[in-house]
Amino acid sequence: MADLKTNFLGIESPNPFWLASAPPTDKEYNVRRAFEAGWGGVVWKTLGAEGPPVVNVNGPRYGAIYGADRRLLGLNNIELITDRPLEVNLEEIARVKSDYPDRAVIVSLMVPCEEAEWKAILPRVAETGADGIELNFGCPHGMSERGMGAAVGQVPEYIEMVTRWCKENYDKPVIVKLTPNITDIRYPARAAKNGGADAVSLINTISSITGVDLDTFSPEPSIDGKGSHGGYCGPAVKPIAMNMVAEIARDPETRGLPISGIGGVTTWRDAAEFMSLGCGTVQVCTAAMTYGFRVVEEMKAGLSKWMDDKGYASIDDFVGRAVPNVTDWQYLNLNYVAKAKIDQDQCIKCGRCYAACEDTSHQAISMSDDRVFEVIDEECVACNLCVDVCPIEGCISMVPMKPGEVDPRTGKVVEAEYANWTTHPNNPMAKAAE
């Protein structure tokens, strides 16, 4: 059995599956249940400054996007940070951490952008014995209107400043949680690093409207006929999150900065993918909110089985393994030539590949009177659309051509050597190969 034990910033947890700062980690009752269910750690739902707690709306907080059979693919929320008194949260955190010393307990924080506010709360968090803090610079709704959350995360200078205050006033690891609601994730990540952050976690939720009620014309979720953009999460955001994780993992300025991956992690496979892109842990919310805490069983068993199959004894054996393979478009091998191939034995003759290729791509699939669909190599640019729309997994594959073969589309011999855009004759900026 592979060892799922995780050491992230010196914080140990029995597995890399943490619950993200969100409703599932809002109070002792939930967190105890989560730990009993086997979660490796939690990031306690964001605490605010001393004083009257925030209030939430009293109507729907969530909106959803569904796939077939009402499978929840995306969830958005307009819930704010914890609406329970600071004292209560701190007492509960201390109690839970002392009862579960082997689990990671991180405390998410969001207070106004004033050093005094941070100085006030940090010692109190330290007293709980929690393993570290996560700075919520990501929440896109509500709090951002008050100059917190994403309003901080969108200004790298603020990130750096607040991170520095925290590092100066708190001894344990500081994780900076980033908002995806920016144009280039590398800038806030660099700012966090410059401020002394021990790690970044991402992504927080994406500003979104999940739907519009076509009778009332109110956005969803609707509060008395009005809606406000909420934070989008769940399986739908995973590709966006993974790209942002990869950008930080491969950026020369932030390379090596530990990352806790968040965004649509639903299965062991999602976790393994995030981790291969450089995440030391993953944080989960929507999967737990959809299916309950028990989903962690599948995640642990699945990751462990995959690691055994691959011969990885520990998490460190594969974390970051995909990072070197993430590159700029300009470095992709233009001498790599593939052709779609349809396995006629698997084909069920739905014709989706044909419709897609004929209507929207390169007219590279032929259809016979008896519904045999075949790739026309002379036209196929290997775009992969047919593979993507085919309902049968494995029926259509992209077969690389061998060096020396002639690509019937271009009439050119497939070269064995790697060559990219930077040296391509069509590139006005091309440099001659040295």
Binding site: A68, R70, G351, R352
Partner: protein, 444 residues
């Protein structure tokens, strides 16, 4: 107190009314909205979809399923009804397992087709539940067309003609319209008096008059119609029943399966519907299955369907065969009737084994006898009362193109016309297409 299965002879009330109600409940109950959504999500929206090719009325199945998917079942219903005005009944009675669902690529992929029939019912029910009629008539043309027979072909033809602005008079020999939708077909496929409800809904288009009790060759002749109307559409069905050609078939207890089915469909109280203890059905088509299964559901102890050829040749689909088996009906193959025994009433039927001798069915000489107090003949119907002067093709009315007969101004479609399977859906297609041709000819 129910008589029970063992009561001898042909008796009513073998089962309690509760048992009968349960036995004759909807074979394929209607989808609830979420079931429909899940079923619709399975459709791949195939290119040039094989299910459409397999549908005699060419319903745009992927489109209507997508309309269900996107929350507009009534729009889906309209897509269906534009092609097949009896889409509601077809959703219930079509042998989808040999038509659209057999062609479904998910049948190929998983042996589990998209449930097109039930989705069609969901869509058409949505339209009918609104109690509206989605089509409007064109400006009146001043032409009037006679339709003979208010079965599926006649109704489909009449509706299309009415929609195109013509007036239509349907002459129906029986006292009730609907044809086989009303008098044929197993009761569990058309519950809650659906056939009449559908006819009533169809007639809302306006411009259609139905004259019941008005039969060709009895109340009028084809020449009368040709004189009085601008065009004539014959959809008179197959009213003759083929004989067993077995000794003793005139004994009491031997009866046409179609008459039994019609009586059952018209019965207001199934506890009053008599059935034998030992029932033998001779035949291999849908009528044989419908009669056999319903006899069993009425409480017959033993029901046997004897078919003279093998399973592969059987007209009834495998689904129907399995349905019969699941209800406890025994199907015997390669047996043909040779004699009906009994003193006045049938007591036994004698059947001879058959074999296929180079494509010719021959008796082996070996016979068996089955106890029988009721025998249903279901070996096919034949055309009866075809008007003189109309050319036949074999035993049916010869047609060319969209139902043109040899007589100018006279079209034919449905079971009485040559070509096509004897299915409701085929009849609808023929009626519709003939209407379009009649319209073209009247507009010329």
């Amino acid at each position: 107190m129910a008589q029970g299965q063992m009561a001898p002879g042909i008796v009513a009330g073998r089962l309690s009314s509760d048992e009968l109600a349960s036995n004759f409940a909807d074979l394929h109950p209607a989808f609830a909205p979420h079931e429909a959504a899940v079923a619709a999500d399975r459709c791949y929206f195939c290119y040039d979809a094989p299910c459409v090719t397999a549908c005699p009325t060419d319903i745009d199945i992927p489109l209507f399923i997508r309309q269900i998917q996107t929350g507009q079942p009534e729009a889906a219903g309209r897509t269906i009804l534009e092609q097949n005005i009896l889409g509601g009944m077809c959703a219930r009675v079509c042998p989808t397992e040999t038509l659209c669902e057999e062609a479904c690529v998910r049948e190929t992929a998983e042996g589990k087709p998209v449930e097109i029939g039930r989705l069609q019912r969901y869509a058409t029910d949505s339209v009918m539940a609104k109690n509206g009629h989605p089509f409007e008539r064109a400006e009146p043309t001043g032409k009037t067309v006679a339709v003979v027979g208010a079965g599926p072909a006649g109704l489909a033809c009449a509706h299309r003609l009415a929609m195109l602005g013509h007036d239509v008079v349907i002459h129906e020999a029986r006292e009730k319209s609907g044809g086989l939708n009303e008098f044929g077909i197993a009761a569990y496929k058309s519950t809650d008096n659906f056939a009449q409800a559908e006819v009533d809904w169809l007639l809302r288009i306006g411009g259609i008059t139905i004259k019941t009790g008005s039969a060709l060759g009895r109340e009028f002749t084809l020449d009368d119609l040709r004189d009085q109307y601008d065009a004539v559409f014959l959809s008179i069905g197959l009213t003759g029943v083929n004989a067993l050609r077995a000794e003793g078939e005139d004994k009491d207890g031997v009866r046409n399966a179609v008459d039994f089915i019609a009586e059952l469909r018209q019965a207001s109280d199934l506890t009053k519907m008599p059935v034998g203890r030992n029932v033998v059905v001779i035949g291999g088509g849908m009528t044989a299955i419908d009669a056999g299964v319903q006899a069993k559901l009425l409480g017959a102890e033993n029901v046997t369907i004897a078919y003279r050829r093998d399973r592969e040749a059987m007209g009834a689909s495998r689904f129907e065969q399995d349905l019969a088996a699941s209800k406890g009906v025994r199907i015997l193959f390669n047996l043909q009737p040779v004699a009906v025994h009994g003193n006045g009433a049938v007591r036994e039927i004698e059947l001879e084994y058959t074999t296929n001798d180079n494509g010719t069915l021959v008796g082996t000489g070996e016979t068996i006898r089955l106890a029988a107090d009721q025998v249903f003949k279901a070996i096919g119907q034949s055309l009866e009362g075809a008007p003189e002067g109309v050319k036949l093709d074999g035993r049916k009315i010869a047609v060319t193109g969209p139902g043109r007969t040899s007589v100018p101004g006279v079209w034919a479609g449905g079971d009485c016309a040559a070509g096509g399977d004897d299915l409701t859906v085929t009849a609808v297609a023929e009626g519709r297409d003939a209407a379009m041709d009649i319209h073209a000819s009247l507009s010329a």
